[in-house]
Symmetry: C2
Subunit: 257 residues, 2 copies
């Protein structure tokens, strides 16, 4: 994921170690590794930081510390600032989904930065003046302001998605071929008749309902095989039942009806 | 946001109060308010819970506690379970972006649930058996497992987006009319000539570059007015400069060249 390696997460004067740790984990979850803290960091609670970072301690170990936002983004071709407050410059903001492809396009040529302000006040207008793009995370008017690490997660999640970096770790579900499914439905029909669930004259109508129910999501070869196994076992059981019943009650009716 | 009111967030046996508080905040940020905890909750650290909930304490105050996952989702038409582990049933998973519209479509008729497992182990196969849809958050192979509250945020963010619930609190940027922009470019050209930035024979070529630069993003009426103000001020300053220079050096050249 070379594009994501070019994306720098910049935290300006963060207050809480737990949030910085959560940011590290969110970054690593979403394929980011490049963290810069602006301002002093001795006040950050180390225990909480490492607890929240969990297995993303390495992101914090490799972080850079600088004195000013200017230093943090000096070599960046595009600097995006996150903001929750309305006001000067802030209205021309992009959503994270709009900003992600712009950041990645720029990241092909130069480092880019995504800048987050302190937990209490966010970025100052002075901080914002040095940023070329404003990003505002859609949120409810009932509570607009996201936790710092949550903001990083939403932006990182959009970047990860936009980078197309996600390879599903297991195969998606390819549909089973239609003739295989038809065979399953034939067997299913026979089973339902055989166990006395429905009578022949209602069977076509009932099967339409079952087919619809089975077709709401993808059905794979493995799914069909499992269902076929269920059908076979049920047919065997029904046959056994009829056999033993006729042994127990000579002259008794066959199952069904 | 009536659809979002029908979406229930179910936390199965959560371990940490801080995470539950973070979940409350993430929910309120994204327009959700319906929280159910499954299992005992006396062990949850109340201080950390309220600290992380911040202004979303009301979500926790209104939560429901039940003994089993079955109780939590009994009346739900669609139950989506989140999982990070691969394995049985887990491969037919949707991304949060795929799941969100399905959940909302179902929420038009019935409550729906989004279920999250404990921090250490996630949902058991037994828990998953009662869920109709699996949701898996795309994440980096370097660190697949998201923090509980982060998982809730990503899913809630997709639901909020899919619900179209986001009303930008300030106007988006409507473009200024073309004739207004042309007038700006005319003034800009005059200014650049006037301050000696370019000569007349290069002006058309230079202005193409400026127009392109000014057209990369939307330019509003307010933007045009501000830039016009800059131009006017600069033209005034250049005129003053020439006036005073000719006073100081009688017979001196006019500015430019």
């Amino acid at each position: 994921m070379p594009l994501l390696d070019q994306v720098r997460i910049v935290l300006v004067r963060p207050l809480y170690g737990g949030n910085v740790g959560s940011v590290c984990r969110a970054m690593k979850n979403m394929g980011l590794s490049n963290l810069v803290l602006v301002g002093p960091e001795q006040h950050l609670n180390a225990r909480e930081l490492h607890a929240m970072a969990a297995h993303a301690d390495d992101v914090f170990e490799r972080h850079r510390n600088v004195g000013t936002l200017e230093e943090a983004v000096a070599d960046c071709g595009l600097v995006a600032a996150t903001t929750a407050r309305p006001g000067l410059y802030r209205e021309h903001s992009l959503t994270p989904r709009e900003a992600a492809p712009r950041l990645l396009a720029a990241a092909a040529d130069t480092p880019v930065a995504l800048v987050f302000g302190p937990e209490d006040d966010g970025l100052s207008n002075e901080d914002l003046a040095g940023c070329s793009v404003m990003v505002r995370i859609p949120s409810s008017p009932a509570y607009l302001s996201l936790n710092l690490a949550m903001s990083v997660m939403v932006c990182a999640y959009e970047l990860f998605g936009a980078a197309g970096a996600y390879e599903p770790p297991v195969e998606r579900t390819p549909e089973a071929p239609a003739d295989m499914k038809e065979r399953l439905f034939d067997h299913w029909r026979r089973m339902l008749l055989d166990i006395g669930f429905m009578k022949e004259e209602k069977a076509d109508h009932m099967m339409l309902g079952f087919k619809r129910a089975f077709s709401r999501g993808p059905m794979s070869v493995a799914d069909v095989r499992i269902l076929m196994g269920v059908v076979r076992q049920t047919l065997w059981m029904a046959a056994q039942y009829r056999k033993y019943r006729s042994l127990a009650r000579p002259g008794g009716r066959a199952a069904g009806g």
